[in-house]
Amino acid sequence: MASSETPAREIPLRETLARLRYRYFPDHLVGELLSKKWIDNAVPFAVLLCVIATFGFLIPDFFAPKLLVITSRQLGEFGLVCIAMMTVIIVGGIDLSVGSNFALGNFTTLALLNLAGWPVAAVVPVVILVCGAVGFVNGVLVGFFRLRAFLTTLVTLIIVRAVVDMLLLRYAQEMSVSFYDSDIWDLVGMGGVAGVPSSFVVLIVVALIGHVILTRSRPGWRAMAIGGSRRSAHNMGLSVRGTVCGSYTISGMLCGLSGLLYAARLGGAGTDTGMGLEIAALTAAVLGGNSLGGGRGSVVKALIGSVIVLLMTNGVIRLGLNSGSGPMVLGLTLLFAVFVDVRWLKNRDKLLSKVYVSPTYVKLPQPASTDPDSGTPFALNNRLRNVEIIGLGEVESPEDVILDDEDYLFCGNRHGDVLRFFPPDYKTWEVYAHIGGSPLGMAFDRDRNLLVCVGGMGLYKIARDRTVSKVTDETNRSPFSVIDDSRLRLADDLDIAPDGRVFFSEATIRYEMHDWPVDALESRGNGRIICYDPRTGRTHTALRNLIFPNGICLANDGQSILFAESWACRISRYWIDGPKAGKVERLIEDLPGYPDNINRASDGTYWVALLGMRSPALDVALRMPGFRRRMARRIAPDQWLYPNLNTGCVVRFDDTGRVIESLWDLGGLNHPMITSMREHRGWLYLGGISNNRIGRVRLENADQNWSAATAYWGKA
């Protein structure tokens, strides 16, 4: 037998290593990084690094300061054209006329300065307007007439080029003999700001503005939406035509600016000015990762692409190879880079789905026995066998139930409604309010407004006049978090402190509600407890890294809350006031099942629902993160090891963490699953998230007049 041959110590050692490895190596960050949009830039950026390294190695002084200044001056001009191309590509178009437009801007600048003798301050806007007009023509044709961008801008490419050639034929002679002399003009062409060339400064400014517009303003979002799906954007009412037209106009204006900078640097115009620039800019834009066809692109991508192309063309020239080698190397690199990018785009999601799930090491303590003969308070019994059924087949997934002073019974359902059953027999009901999402935990505040945690939405309030309002749906983002955890994904249960503060749990920040089994598989501390303070209107995260925090209940002392962590099978106390404020202490650690909602009992103790029971197989698997990861990657989700939700119970415990009794329904005939329970006037009402009914059972020894709302807030 293999097990008898291996030393007994080896298994604990291996486990210790696993524990340390999973505690200190952040596996989940890999998946979270991959899920970020900006990770798309990784491939172009790697290519950029390779290009820098290669040419830095081949050409010793390639990055000498003097050359860097020249390169950055060129980059100022080329980068602008690439950004111009990018603005058009993003909305799903293409602008082949950038090269000609650039030449037009160059010519116009020189003509106005040298021949017409205009001041620089007047020339700049006029040049930008002239080139913007060319872009506008493109925009009208492509945006409003719905012409094909490729053909249309091809036509403008040829026309504008021909116009520039004709103008050159007429004016080149005069232009070459006159010369414009001005300090400002010299500053633009040869000077700079603090050693940084002017054109580069212009590029940085334009890039910053462009980035903000594209990522943080409405026009930018609209452009992205139109590129992503023109039809959907049109159907949702965006002005597709206007936005497309605008992007071509901006493209034209940027080309003009770039041509102006070129004129300032070289002061000459020739027939080959800007020749082939459209190809170079297109190359740079695509190389940087902007998708032809639209919807995916950014200023950063355009800049990365432009640096790569510029460095490569310059580097190949400086290497002094024969005339063909430059294009050859360029063509090969392009092909390779785009190939990698295409593959990356195609397989990113597959890779992400493989690595996002990152189970960690969890060792649960030995569970308390549930054996009927064990004599523990968890010993199986059949006290829930005779549960009375309310609303059979009329409610779907009542996760939580609650009753008010007038004995109305409230529950949520999976359609996003909150239902109200009428006393005394609860045979009839009505839709009390519609919120949407999945209403989960509920609580009454001092004014008897019903606060509801809604999975997928946040914390909502139903006022007594049944108006629904949002209380909060975001909290402060954790420092250094990779995924944005400021939005609430799965608000689960809540309770309200005497001073009005609302404490509610968010079960996981990494998964949506329907993916809760994956979070169970991970068993990582993905959840948190969040506090909403009505006095300041602010929401902040009180506790982090909890393992699926679920039920929350204000303790009888009013200074602490009790919370359950489902996958950790434990109940803890969190002090919100008093001398121990901010401290957490464990109350019960060896639950035999997964705790859900906690609520007060009439005698000063607490009820907690166990939504499912632990099983030895899953307990072992929890100590084997590698096994669980392989399971998540290789087999279909319906064959995974899951928490056993087929049976559960209600448990009563007191402030010291001593478990007093448990209520079971063997076989689960009457009330299959329990996620919450409320005691009210001698009855215990039961809710279950996968049930089609609400249950209630008589509590013989309980206070027959006790109501939670009154116990919390006094008589209404």
């Binding site: 799903g92 039809r231 190359t283 024969n322 392009l334 785009v338």
Partner: protein, 328 residues
């Protein structure tokens, strides 16, 4: 009914054909010697090569692709073959090598598009850069223009020969057009190309081997390109590799789309390319007789293309609901 009839009556092809006829009539009345048989033959001959390249492009465009490497492939493959002949290689062998080069390059391009899934616009753009660079670096060194060797034999007749009073380039171009027509209309691969252009995914699900078909398209285009290059070289007595950097590729796209071939694939045929080519031929011939400056010719050519696509989009407006995503 009347509306749909009038719509169908005025598609881009007919508009362009109408413009051609009008221009032809105007030139015939206004210009001396325009109708002279020698001039008409010169007219057709001047655009024969363009038409052949148009056929090469057509095969690719119908399958929703584009081949921007045509001109580079033509210049380098033919230029290299000529240089090999000048270096003493037998003519047939050198031509085989040149053809092999053209087919090989388009094969690589096709593989990149079909199997590596690089967008055709970009793959062929990069291939054009690569072919030109490779050719100038290793195959045709020291000179931009490769002149036709004297001992070309019968091959020289491709560009210079005359059969029954008709110059050979016209005959070859016509034969290419006929072959393309028969291929697209009556062979299985030809129909497959249309199917792929119409709806690529449906074609794939329908069981067409879309990847080999894509490669095949580009290889076909490469072969036609070599033939066109050979005619160019034998007609003018040289192959100028600088045409790679000219606007020629745009002219090829122009003749294809002018006649109404949809760049999104599946729409059009040989007839459309012929119509587009004829318009360009008539226009250039007329303007040359009128001694219009080359740049102005370019402007006029472009304006006519613009007019054709604008009027097409007004008569047959594209619908936001049915437009294809990523269709540039």
């Amino acid at each position: 009914m009347a509306l749909s009839l009038s719509k169908r009556a005025f598609n881009q092809e007919r508009i362009v054909f109408l413009i051609t006829i009008v221009l032809f009539a105007v030139f015939a009345v206004e210009l001396n010697n325009f109708l002279a048989p020698a001039n008409l033959l010169a007219l057709v001959r001047s655009v024969a090569v363009l038409g052949m390249l148009g056929m090469a492009m057509l095969v690719v465009v119908l399958g929703r692709g584009i081949d921007l490497a045509i001109v580079a492939n033509m210049a380098i493959s033919v230029g290299w073959a000529l240089q090999l002949i000048a270096g003493g290689m037998p003519v047939w062998l050198a031509l085989c090598v040149g053809l092999g080069f053209a087919l090989g390059m388009s094969l690589i391009g096709g593989i990149l598009i079909a199997y590596a899934e690089i967008p055709s616009l970009f793959a062929t753009l990069a291939m054009a850069t690569f072919i030109y660079g490779f050719g100038r670096a290793h195959l045709i060194t020291g000179t931009d223009v490769v002149y036709l060797p004297k001992d070309m034999g019968l091959v020289a007749q491709l560009g210079q020969g005359v059969v029954a009073g008709i110059p050979m380039p016209i005959i070859v171009a016509a034969a290419t057009a006929l072959a393309a027509y028969l291929f697209l209309k009556y062979t299985k691969p030809g129909r497959f190309i249309f199917a792929m252009g119409d709806n690529f995914n449906a074609a794939r699900i329908g069981g067409i081997g879309v990847r080999p078909m894509l490669v095949f398209q580009y290889v076909l285009s490469g072969g036609a390109t070599f033939l066109a290059g050979l005619i160019t070289a034998t007609s003018v007595g040289a192959m100028n590799t600088r045409i790679v950097n000219s606007n020629m590729i745009y002219d090829v796209i122009l003749v294809v789309v002018l006649g109404g071939v949809g760049l999104s694939g599946g729409r059009g045929g040989v007839r459309n390319v012929i119509v587009g080519t004829l318009l360009i031929g008539v226009l250039m011939n007329g303007m040359t007789i009128m001694d219009v400056q080359y740049t102005v010719q370019n402007v006029i050519k472009s304006l006519i293309l613009l007019f054709a696509i604008v009027s097409d989009s007004i008569i047959n407006p594209r619908d936001e609901q049915t437009g294809q995503q990523g269709d540039i």
